[in-house]
Symmetry: C2
Subunit: 219 residues, 2 copies
């Protein structure tokens, strides 16, 4: 097991250090609720940020690569990346403009992402990624063939250098502002799954499965 | 008015070119529904990706800087950034694992972000940013004083080099897979605002305002 994360100079939070969470279990809880990350990488000095799906497996993140083609052209030796996962929980309305904020939980991971090239390992990585996003779905789907597997890119990023940041709860106003006559509080925000929409070409008698009917990221 | 965006070599989509949207109005619709961006920047070769709030005003993005302290230390001459906004609309369950996807709308902007330093301009930028996120709130809040204004960082990014990517609709399976007996369809996902939560120290008789009760990003 890796040791608990000690913040490096690169992941130590400079501002709002009170919101920092360096503990691995807390970061993993955030990573397990999320399934979309923003992957940052550099090409000729220019940063790029691309959204894509991921799954956490132990102390690694598997990142689906098809959206990050630029990154993946140079992927054999590994790519320096920053992977950020953000869960938005609410708008925080303070009495003063200055103390307005948002409730959120985020994790930033720095490291080198490496393409998974071995076919068996890639298949297993895809299964784990799929189980992270939608548990139960893999077994009920038509499995990848060799050609599809070759056309799929999966990166593995070890979770070594990371930090997490959490802001929760009510607004915090300056003491003298509590007498300012305006509403204050939190507008909660949640990613909500709606009723599953049947594909128009479903075979007769097939109903939406449990994992689609009751989809939720809360663990 | 800037010309309609012609994709540069850097923003042209390499994969899944069918999902590319280069038209400015379509990109602005996405930017106007969102209010959280992921800002990518480079420090000594290492990419960083930080979530923060933004507002679109004409052909510029105003980006709230307090979360991006690393970036903002070097901000006087401007910082090369990639700003990505992602709206997640659903999980797309195909019959084959390979054709699983997500419905989403995203915009990627490349450019140089510059700190807004003039006090009047900064105040106006903050007002516009605030109106983007929560229209109506600015006027009902205690306004920023000089000290708070100095402590607030706002960046302006011209929207010149950008691309948008959209995937909507049902799964698209290979023709032979439509006979594979499993459910297929879409699980819609939406960011939903809940009932506003009153701050415990509200002044007597103050009720949550309309903009907090009926909060929605759909425009």
């Amino acid at each position: 097991m890796p040791q608990p994360n000690a913040p490096s100079a690169r992941t130590r939070l400079v501002r709002e250090a009170g919101r920092a969470v360096y503990d691995r279990a807390a970061a993993y809880k955030i990573l397990d609720e999320g399934f979309i990350c923003h992957v940052g990488f550099v090409v000729e000095g220019q940063p790029f940020v691309i959204p894509t799906g991921y799954g956490r497996v132990g102390d690694s993140l598997y990142i689906h690569g098809s959206a990050a083609s630029r990154m993946l052209r140079r992927v054999d030796e590994g790519v320096a990346v920053c992977v950020t996962v953000t869960l938005l929980d609410g708008l925080v309305l303070a009495r003063s403009i200055f103390n307005h904020s948002m409730n959120y939980r985020s994790v930033v991971i720095l490291g080198t992402a490496i393409a998974v090239t071995d076919a068996n390992e890639k298949l297993e990585a895809l299964r784990l990624l799929s189980e992270h996003i939608l548990p139960g779905r893999w077994a009920e789907s038509r499995q990848p063939n060799e050609k599809e597997l070759r056309a799929t890119l999966v990166m593995r990023l070890p979770i070594e250098e990371f930090s997490a940041k959490v802001r929760q709860g009510p607004p915090i106003d300056d003491e003298e502002d509590y007498a300012f006559s305006t509403w204050a509080g939190v507008i909660p925000l949640t990613l909500v799954a709606g009723e599953p929409i049947d594909d128009a070409r479903l075979m007769p008698g097939i109903k939406a499965p449990e994992y689609a009917l009751g989809y939720s990221r809360k663990r």
